[in-house]
């Protein structure tokens, strides 16, 4: 015990060297820039920087990658809030409330909430990284195919939550996403499904390209359709960046819940920040005392999403470092950096290489403070982006959509997919369908399919395996809560709406147009 404590202390001392501090600041700043650019995902940012860390000391290299990771996950929220374009998939849920706040002239407040929540989400996730790493890693071992199936079903129940006005339209969107998720090689037999002879589709639809298309490109089409004056007026940042004491108190429980959610999601392999943000958002909505604000720019919604996605960062490092099983795509890249340094994930990192590991942990803690500082100082600057006229913004976002989707694999087909999804997204929003539900189903579909089919394979067709463990039942209970809560919430919402003053009707009318994402 004492030994561990002294290792932790030494870790902080080692992390505080000028070069490490410089790398943290640089990494965070770079991460934020990468994160807030649509199409440049956190995984890509870390992958881009990976080769440069080969020559650094292991701890410094890992700290840089960790800093980019955290910065990018937070950075995604800036563009989500200001231009309704999540910079990374992890901020897709932030766009829902954040952009409404921008429309209401509360962009500054939204950015502050995102930064503040990201900081706490990240910092709290460090605690679990330090203290619960071995313990939480054990939990992952309880997840077999059946549990993964239920996990994805639980995730899909979120569709009901994000559907907004029409549950049916939400379900239609979700079904479309599930259908699209079957494209590619069959995960069990390897048969080619809906590939039309294109090996490009072997690994399914590229989620990032689909996301850029559905969220960003469709946004361009929508923007281009409107009169340019409208937008410039709507997005002027007039408020101060900051939250009152009451508001901080209001989002405190949300941050705490999202930390737990994000951490757990981070630890589970396959489920990353993009799912955590939706879960965090939805939970914040369910527990909120101000449900009437949801869909109209709720700080709790922004906090719920942003605290959750940053809480994933620490969580996903746990299985990466202890089991060598990355919790999500970014840590998979990060693990590549670990291995190239000659470090093998596993017990050695906490034994032989403990000083290095604890230096990295300490660096990860310090990175959160850099993120808060740079985020608060820099967001003001980034906030100005939304003041730009659409005449400038539209071509810029378009270029970023193209560059972003091309940069992932350097494959022209990615641009075709992105554009197709842009058109689909545009049409969906015209018909009030839900693009977020499509993305959600696209991510969760394969996890659920593989889980269900593998579970039934291993039980030789006995459906009882799906109900055979405590974890299964816990997840089933969560699914039921997930499905029922929106119905219950809707009733409460309607009641609240009826009671609401009729004077705000006009506002709501304008906002419902944007409601569909």
């Amino acid at each position: 015990m004492l030994e561990t404590l002294s290792l932790m202390g030494a870790g902080f001392l080692n992390a505080l060297t000028p070069i490490n501090l410089l790398m943290m600041a640089g990494g965070v700043a770079m991460g934020i820039v990468i994160g807030c650019m649509p199409g440049l995902s956190a995984a890509m940012g870390v992958a881009l920087m990976l080769p440069m860390t080969f020559t650094m000391k292991p701890e410094t290299g890992l700290i840089v990658l960790g800093a980019i990771y955290c910065g990018a996950i937070f950075g995604g929220s800036i563009s989500a809030i200001l231009i309704h374009t999540p910079g990374t998939p992890a901020s897709a849920a932030t766009a829902i409330e954040g952009y409404q706040m921008t429309l209401n002239g509360r962009a500054g407040k939204a950015l502050f909430t995102a930064c503040y929540s990201s900081f706490w989400g990240g910092l709290l996730s460090c605690i679990s990284l330090y203290f619960f790493a071995p313990l939480l890693a054990q939990l992952t071992l309880k997840f077999r195919s059946a549990e993964y199936f239920w996990l994805s079903i639980f995730g899909l129940t979120i569709i009901a939550g994000v559907s907004g006005k029409s549950l049916v339209k939400g379900l239609i969107s979700g079904a479309l996403g599930l259908l699209l998720s079957t494209i590619g090689l069959d995960p069990i037999t390897g048969a080619k499904r809906f590939m039309f002879g294109q090996s490009y589709f072997a690994e399914g639809i590229n989620t990032t390209c689909a996301l850029i298309g559905l969220f960003s490109m469709s946004q361009v089409f929508i923007l281009a359709e409107k009169k340019i004056v409208q937008r410039a007026k709507a997005t002027k940042v007039t408020d101060k960046m900051g939250l009152s004491r009451e508001e901080r108190k209001q989002i405190r429980p949300t941050i705490f819940r999202s930390w737990i959610i994000g951490n757990l999601i981070g630890i589970l392999p396959g489920a990353g920040a993009s799912i955590a943000c939706f879960l965090g958002y939805n939970t914040s909505r369910q527990f909120s005392k101000h449900k009437e604000m949801f869909g109209k720019g709720s700080i709790e919604g922004v906090a719920g999403s942003e605290a959750a996605n940053n809480a994933v960062t620490g969580g996903s490092l746990i299985p990466t470092l202890t089991l060598g099983i990355p919790g999500e795509s970014v840590t998979a890249v990060l693990m590549g950096g670990l291995v190239i340094q000659g470090l093998t994930p596993g017990p050695e990192l906490f034994g032989k290489y403990a000083p290095m590991t604890y230096t990295f942990f300490a660096g990860f803690v310090l990175v959160q403070f850099f993120m808060l500082g740079i985020g608060l100082l820099g967001s003001r600057g980034f906030a100005q982006i939304s003041r730009l006229s659409d005449a400038i913004l539209i071509p810029c976002v378009t270029v970023l959509c193209f560059v972003g989707s091309y940069a992932i694999h350097k494959n022209i087909m990615d641009i075709v997919v992105m554009l197709s999804f842009g058109v689909v997204g545009y049409l969906m929003r015209k018909f009030d369908l839900n693009t977020a539900a499509v993305v959600l189903a696209l991510i969760l579909g394969p996890i659920g399919e593989k889980g269900l089919r593998n579970a039934l394979r291993s039980s030789q067709g006995d459906i009882g395996i799906l109900f055979s463990s405590v974890v299964c039942w816990v997840l089933i209970a969560l699914c039921v809560v997930g499905i029922l809560s929106p119905l219950f919430m809707n009733r409460l919402e309607k009641k609240a709406e009826e009671e609401a003053v009729a004077g705000t009707d006009e506002d709501i009318e304008v906002l419902t147009q944007e409601d569909s994402v």
Partner: protein
Amino acid sequence: MKKFFALLLALCMIFALAACGSSAPAAPAATEAPAAEEPAENAESTGWAPDGPVNVIVAYKAGSGTDNTARVLAQFAEKYVGQTLVIDNVEGGSGSIGWSKLADADPDGLTLGFINLPNFSSSIVNEMGTYTTASFAPICNHVNETSIVIVRADDDRFPDIDTLVAYAKEHDGELKASTNGPQASNHIGAQAFANSAGFTYIDIPQGGTADQLLSLQNKEADFSVVKVADIAGHIDVTYRILAVFNDERLAELPDVPTLGEKGFYEGWLGSSRLIAAPAGVSDEVIAFYEAAFKAAMEDPDYLAAAEQAGITTLYMDAAATAAVVEQQQAFAEGLTDEFWGA
């Protein structure tokens, strides 16, 4: 004010463009300096040398296993090639997109690529691309990873390979093996082992080796076939190795029997990574790179780095490598429905 931000955005875009353009050359940049000092020594003997940066296609994403090993070799090979080696990650289509690009590249010696066996062979069998083995000119082998049969270290049922086989036969069709995907390398291994030992089993396909190992660890699966490097650091701690797929025992695992000596699968099975050029390159080009990569793989600095990264280097010349490619192709073509027990 507006102009300023327009400028800022423009800069952002330039950065984005630069970022996507520089993703590949980023790694070799650090080693450019030594490359200049020592121009290709073997250019004189072979009569050919590259006159510009060499594009090296890796069919998997940055940070993947293949990418990591490729970058380690590229870093040390630059000295002997005399030019910058630019790693170009062309991922997707289970590798076939990158290999298609390599097959279609100009055979001028300025484009090379890494090929993974047996994935490459399977992609031809499954018609994932329009290429065949004839579309490539193998240059040399780089990495060989031998398959092994593993169980959990705390699984007392299976102290050795004989008890595993005896149990599997007694409970035919009940044991489960996790794999790294349908008909992927580790599935082939598990099937070959089961066929040779005369039992059937249930395969649980997972998305990759990491998930495959997790599935074994969380007791969903009973055994698995993986490669030695996959469980480095976990041997005897998390997993127990029961047997290796090789003609003779591995030097690093002297106590682990081969499947052959127990009367099961004979010979080597595993995965390998080799360097190839598009078909049609001249013999001089092949000879040049053969010599350059051989020298790189014998470089003490490379060997130290490779050992640190857990790379099991095995150099083979162009002829031997081509033979392996053909042999693996024949093996993959032979994996009929009968092999899979369907």
